[in-house]
Amino acid sequence: MNVALTLLWKDLVTEWRSRDRVVAMTIFAFLVVVVFQFAWPGMDREEIARLAPGVLWVTYVFAAVIGLGRTFATELENEAMTALALAPGTRGWIFLGKAAATWVLITLVQVLTALVFALFMRVDVSVGLAGSAAIAALANVAICSVGTLLSAMSVRSRFREVLLPVLLIPTLVPVLAAAVRATTATLGGDPLGLSLVQPLIVIGGIYLVLSFLLFDYVLDE
């Protein structure tokens, strides 16, 4: 457990000093939002509101892929991966620390993206703000769990930039579908019921436990 907390702290401090992952993810997410503007010229507000949850989540997932790709990149320098593997206790804790740090960064980027999105697309987010935030927080558990596991694998492969999205996006389809469904409901003014968040809790839980257990086999240093 201490390993996880130490790694979480280390990753957040490193990120605070360099800010490279958050900046890259945020700029990329803004860019995607702006590019979508060109994909639907002259669309009225109702149509945009209908498409908004889907577009927002596609943007989130793409930005997350960018950020996850860098999760273990710094550990490759100076054989830091070996040092990580030498940490006492189950290696699942290493995974948990890394995943938690990524969760914080991705959530931060999502908040910034949502603000810009609401501004540009003139979507009224005040209706389901708390609900959407809760959905994002839950979906990020699934995204960060499976993303951290696959990132640790892809970072030591050839064509790692291509391999991570190819591996990750098929596994995120159920998360994306459940999150879009729930976000559509909350932005439409519906209360956030258990039936909406249940898939996210189940998928997040399965991915978290599975990644925790399987991470043991990823490090071979």
């Binding site: 389809v173 459940a178 898939p199 998928i203 086999y217």
Partner: protein, 248 residues
């Protein structure tokens, strides 16, 4: 612990038995399909039904085989399990691809021109399954080091099989009602005389699947054995390497 040679012997015997089963079943299958009555609405196009669903079972079986073999590899660290996992993935990809090709051909015939693809729950699922398979094969070829590639692929194979029920559930929640009755009555709507070819089709393609799986498995085992002999010949002092892969 068995030596690869013993594994190969057993595989060779199974292969011969399975080969005979396939050789006997294939002509029977072809005959029953030719003899099956023509569908009054869809005509000859309906006969794809005797090929398409059995292919689907093969695709799913391949994925399950890959995941189980991957789990065994992670647990026991034996190379032979990894070779089964590769076989499952490759034969599964073949069946999945054929299913994705035959599906749209039937769809266009049944639903008219322009209807090659519909975002139906089952179609979407199969497409996702196919992408997971491709990602699995890409991961294998992009990862350096046989042992590492085997380990990473095993992890992804397990993840992939967990994904199947999750996708089923989610697609049912999100978009299952989009096309409620297109494929649902496919198997229950079998007319007089259509049940037998359907049954024989399932049986035959199941044996074809297992035959190809074992064949590919054996190729993997033999290839590993060849590599081992060659490396022993190149470094005679070190002696023969053990058949297990270190799993640390």
């Amino acid at each position: 612990m068995t030596r690869p040679a013993a594994d190969d012997d057993r595989l060779a015997v199974s292969l011969r038995v399975l080969g005979w089963c396939v050789a006997v079943l294939l002509p029977v299958y072809a005959w029953t399909v030719i003899q099956a009555p023509l569908d009054s609405v869809q005509g000859v196009m309906q006969k794809i039904l005797y090929v398409h669903p059995p292919l689907a079972y093969g695709a799913y079986l391949g994925f399950v085989a890959t995941a189980i073999a991957g789990g065994l590899f992670l647990w026991r660290g034996r190379e032979v399990h990894d070779q089964l996992a590769i076989a499952g993935a490759e034969v599964g990809t073949l069946f999945c691809s054929l299913m994705l090709i035959t599906g749209p051909i039937w769809a266009r015939g049944a639903w008219g021109p322009g209807n090659w693809w519909v975002w139906d729950a089952r179609l979407t699922l199969t497409l996702l399954l196919w992408f997971v398979y491709l990602a699995y094969l890409l991961l294998r070829s992009f990862t350096e080091g046989d042992e590492r590639a085997a380990r990473f692929a095993s992890i992804y194979g397990i993840l992939g099989v967990v994904l199947i029920p999750l996708n089923y559930w989610i697609i049912d929640l999100v978009g299952g009602a989009m096309h409620p009755d297109n494929l649902a009555n496919e198997s229950s709507g079998l007319g007089e005389g259509m049940g037998l070819p359907f049954l024989v089709g399932n049986l035959t393609l199941f044996f074809v699947f297992v035959f190809l799986l074992v064949l590919r498995w054996r190729i993997g085992v033999l290839r590993a054995e060849t590599d081992r002999v060659e490396s022993d010949a190149a470094h005679p002092v070190r002696g023969s390497r053990p058949s297990t892969v270190d799993d640390t």
